[in-house]
């Protein structure tokens, strides 16, 4: 059953030449989504809302922002004080970056819990990781733009990591900077790239969704769609649900924008960048903290950089490290628990990343780093082999029928 294209003359004229309407209907209305999707499946559309919100606020900010070391900090304050609704644009953009990471991290852990990265969704999963990498790059570049103390010193610390690369490291860093330190050429190229990458992300989102719509969504049971009875049309079912959760997300975002606008930021970034004075603690934004902790857990600089990169890159091979035939953690009693241990490990790493690298913190950081990699390299391959999984339901539709039967007869078990 497919929804017809409206009979309107203009629509038909365009449709004949370029079938945008039937395309939009096929992907935005008729797309068959599994019937049993839960709230965790609404975070993808929230991430899309955030990407659009960042682009809209970012384009408007760029109209008043000046990418020059002598003017960047002042131009951001000019936005905050003199531009009509400028304070709202800037707080929405700065806190929007955090909201974006929150929903994307939930989105990723959802995939980990329900095994959405497994066959036949590996390429879909790769595009997702590339989106994460692009997003991290964009957020890092953007954080440099207001040219506060943390902007400058964060940029210095992170770009310096490239100097750990043998042979070419030193030259590479000079090339990245466009000079012999983080300076005006650096700020200019960072602005250019910060403007560019979100549009690359848009293209990547397109590929991500293309792969999704080709092999269809995973679902909480982790079993394949077997008949049309297992599905529902994307609109109105997913659209109404996404509208609701999207609004709740905006509510949370605006609580921060209007009432806690600087809580997630670093206070010293309201001090203008000063290359002669290093701040007491250099810490990245919260969304980088787990990776920062891994970086600092390795005593060797190059080793730290490799570990940090590997922490994300290992996700690319996760579909093959995980040897279990069963996707969803619902039917994997041990993985179900280890999933939460892994999540806790990431949270603790995040907290270690915010602490000074000394004493107990180093020890905890190292243990958690080792566990992080052990989860992928040891636990996932072995678990798939030895874990006794629970029997899978016959179909999505059958499991829904069983459930409603149970609730009618009163839950006997």
């Amino acid at each position: 059953m497919s929804t017809p294209v409206p009979q309107n003359k203009v629509v038909q004229w365009i449709e004949y030449r370029l079938p945008v309407f039937s395309w939009a209907i096929a992907h935005g209305v008729d797309y068959p989504a599994p019937r049993n999707l839960n709230y965790w499946w609404t975070f993808g559309s929230m991430a899309m809302i955030m990407l659009v919100a960042q682009i809209v606020t970012g384009v408007l900010l760029s109209m008043h922002y000046t990418a020059h070391v002598d003017h960047a900090f002042d131009s951001v304050e000019h936005i905050m004080r003199d531009v009509e609704w400028g304070w709202l644009l800037r707080y929405a953009h700065a806190n929007g970056a955090s909201m974006f990471f929150v929903v994307v991290y939930v989105h990723i852990f959802r995939a980990l819990y329900y095994g959405s990265y497994k066959a036949p969704r590996e390429i879909l999963w790769w595009f997702g990781i590339m989106l994460l990498l692009l997003m991290m790059a964009t957020a890092f570049l953007g954080y440099v733009l207001p040219w506060g103390q943390m902007s400058f010193w964060g940029a210095t610390v992170i770009t310096n990591l490239f100097s750990a690369i043998p042979w070419i490291g030193g030259d590479l860093v000079v090339w990245l900077w466009g000079g012999f330190s983080v300076d005006n050429p650096t700020l200019n190229r960072f602005f250019s790239l910060h403007y560019l990458l979100p549009f690359v992300m848009c293209g990547m989102v397109f590929l991500h969704l293309w792969a999704l719509h080709h092999r269809k969504s995973n679902n909480p049971l982790g079993i394949d769609i077997k008949s049309p009875k297992d599905t529902m049309p994307f609109s109105p079912y997913c659209t109404t649900k996404d509208l609701f959760t999207g609004t709740v997300m905006l509510f949370v975002l605006f609580v921060f924008v209007f009432y806690l606008p600087n809580t997630l930021g670093e206070a010293v970034n309201y001090e203008k960048a000063n290359p002669l004075q290093t701040p007491a603690h250099i810490v990245p934004e919260w969304y980088f903290l787990p990776f920062y902790a891994i970086l600092r857990s390795v005593p060797d600089k190059l080793g730290g950089v490799i570990a940090m990169a590997a922490a994300i890159l290992i996700l690319f091979v996760l579909p093959w490290l995980d040897t279990s035939k069963v996707r969803s953690a619902r039917f994997r009693p041990i993985y179900k628990q280890l999933f939460w241990v892994f999540l806790a490990d990431c949270v603790v790493l995040g907290w270690i990343g915010a602490m000074p690298a000394e004493g107990v913190y180093i020890v905890i950081g190292r243990i958690c780093t080792i566990y992080y990699f052990a989860h992928f390299i040891l636990i996932m391959p072995l678990l798939g082999r030895f874990e006794k999984t629970l029997p899978l339901p016959e179909s999505i539709h059958q499991s829904i029928l069983d459930k409603s039967l149970k609730s009618k007869t009163g839950n006997i078990s």
């Binding site: 209007f258 010293v268 001090e271 179900k336 806790a344 603790v348 905890i364």
Partner: protein, 262 residues
Amino acid sequence: MLKYVISFFASITLVFFITNKLYAAGDAPKPPNIDWHQEGIFGTYDKAALIRGFQVFQEVCASCHSLNFIAFRNLLEIGFSPEEVKLIAAEYEVEDGPDDEGEMFMRSARPSDYWPAPFANDKAARAANGGAMPPDLSLITKSKVAGSDYLYALLTGYRDEPPEGFELSDGMYYNDYYPGHQIAMPQPIYEESVEYIDGTEATIEQLSKDVTQFLAWTAEPKLEERKRTGLKVLIFLAIFAALAFVIYKRTWKRLKIKDTEE
């Protein structure tokens, strides 16, 4: 799943609690928490305090510190009348030019001018302050972690004598709350440093509180507009979310009905 979520958060909290306890000792004293007028969802600036605080800034701090992001016209926002702002501006001279002969010249300031800095450049500021740089104060309450609480604690935290055994360098002063306790700024505020126009008694605490509130305003002048707008936006979104929830639930009911028909 709920069981897991709960035990997850419980164990995380436990780890944080234990290590924070282990490491809490040894830090500089935390500035006492003060209930500022501008705090909270409905918090607004205490306009009378801002006017008094401006007077403290103008008569005490301005001789060493700049206030680069504030123009005289901004004083309209804290309750000065246009005439008063003109008079305040006229007390200051700013450089303008070049004129038709190509010369720079001095003229009295206008409301559109920015607050003139006490020193021509950073070097001059350092030279006049024994090598230390008095920072610009426009954003000072936002650039410190404890914000207004820190500023107030700093201004009231001076001691005449450093504690027994503390080596104080030449030209430095002892302060309870400054990191490392040695600060190059001499105690700026004393009893009666300023004679308030509105007759308020000028204790050290009063003067410090007022100037702190003034500097909280210079850092975040849109605070009141922000909170007012926020309330409207959040009420709108709450209603919209409730409606969206109803629509979502009603739509999904259709799916359930289909099941029972089969």
